[in-house]
Chain length 239, copies 2
Amino acid sequence: WDQRRKVSQNLDKIKNKIAVYSGKGGVGKTTIAVNLAVLLAQQGHKVGLLDADIDCPNVIRMLHMHSGPTSGENGQLVPAERYGVKVMSMGFFQKDELEAIIWRGPMIHNAINQFLELTEWGELDYLVVDLPPGTSDAPLTIMQVLKLDGFIVITTPQDLSYIDAVRSINMIRKMNVNILGVVENMSGEIFGHGAGETISERMKIKFLGRLELNKAYGDMSAPVILRDESIRKDFEALL
Amino acid sequence: WDQRRKVSQNLDKIKNKIAVYSGKGGVGKTTIAVNLAVLLAQQGHKVGLLDADIDCPNVIRMLHMHSGPTSGENGQLVPAERYGVKVMSMGFFQKDELEAIIWRGPMIHNAINQFLELTEWGELDYLVVDLPPGTSDAPLTIMQVLKLDGFIVITTPQDLSYIDAVRSINMIRKMNVNILGVVENMSGEIFGHGAGETISERMKIKFLGRLELNKAYGDMSAPVILRDESIRKDFEALL
Ligand SMILES: Nc1ncnc2c1ncn2[C@@H]1O[C@H](COP(=O)(O)OP(=O)(O)O)[C@@H](O)[C@H]1O
Ligand SMILES: Nc1ncnc2c1ncn2[C@@H]1O[C@H](COP(=O)(O)OP(=O)(O)O)[C@@H](O)[C@H]1O
């Protein structure tokens, strides 16, 4: 309990803590978390981005970050900034990016707590949190330690993703969290349309909108909303 | 140790145990495991398919299986058959498919062991195992309990997938397993080409081939190799 108190004291200068979450990987969760954070910063808000996806900490690579946090007073970690967003990731602490960190239950607890206690975010309007996918130890631990204000659930259009998303929504509902809505990503010819709206109807959550499957996402030189005006408008429509 | 002995006695009538694995979800791992198993059965082999992806047990849905295992002598479970493949999945034991099972470390061990001890596969030429993705408790536990003969790693063509695949290959290499090769899935215009070959060169593993991004996969009425001749040829080329 003492740890929780310390963590919540450290985070009480943050107005909104928004989690981006999905029932399984590969649906575009990290891409959406990164571009939402950059968009909010572009709109003049004070924004932080926490990469809590400990199995695949891909935020640093998506943002081409070459420097990590610096140390502040009393051992605190001051996050590095990129595109006006303060970024913190487990990936900064991995010696070799190509080595997998094998997380076992209790280790997750300690790593997350330390990470949350020591990071000096300062005053923020939004902290966007990229959660690990699925229903294992990692996302649950983070949800319990961080009192998140709202969840955005990401799905792809296919039938199978619908099942994964519903399973994970049923899980997070048990933790009394506020689900802001569902985003359907990769809509179009190949994967179809529809899972987003079906989830919204059946689970009684808001349909925030859809993002088309588009080659432009593959260019990693900069966040896609800074390179493509029409995709930027799609992201603005989600907010 | 006693449990391991029991499990290995139960599985010693199986000639080849092949795992299909990926560094993260959403790359087509389950789709490839299901279609490979059906193809091997079509070629006249005796085949089993074990859905060990406990977070997202999607095999049953992909194969439209309405009936599960039956009970045999001394409490054994006799797997149901579909397209000539004997299928066993954690999903058969979930009361409600839309509820997430929250797996914590020690539970995984017990569930997997029971599953492997009790299933009566009979004589098989191949057992295809759909592993959970990533580097958490679940894939590790299964690898330790099942002595797998070979691993097929699945990646998508994007740069980010390359990192996830390399991380997971470095991990499974520590367990002294035999990696048969890497398959690049969803190649084409949108996601590009190349991660498969790059992984093959850098990690010195065989490049088994690539599967194109294709709308035909979205039709869940039957495994795609039974509906599309050219995709079936792509799968035959992998073997
Ligand atoms: N709408 C989209 N169209 C095309 N590619 C996309 C789209 N959204 C994401 N991607 C690509 O898909 C891959 C997986 O995205 P990622 O954000 O890593 O997924 P997750 O975090 O859910 O595992 C990335 O290479 C990304 O560039
Ligand atoms: N080559 C492909 N082209 C188009 N869709 C694909 C392809 N491979 C898989 N899919 C689709 O992608 C989705 C995810 O596949 P799945 O096998 O569940 O991935 P994983 O097991 O890696 O999470 C499924 O809806 C499947 O139909």
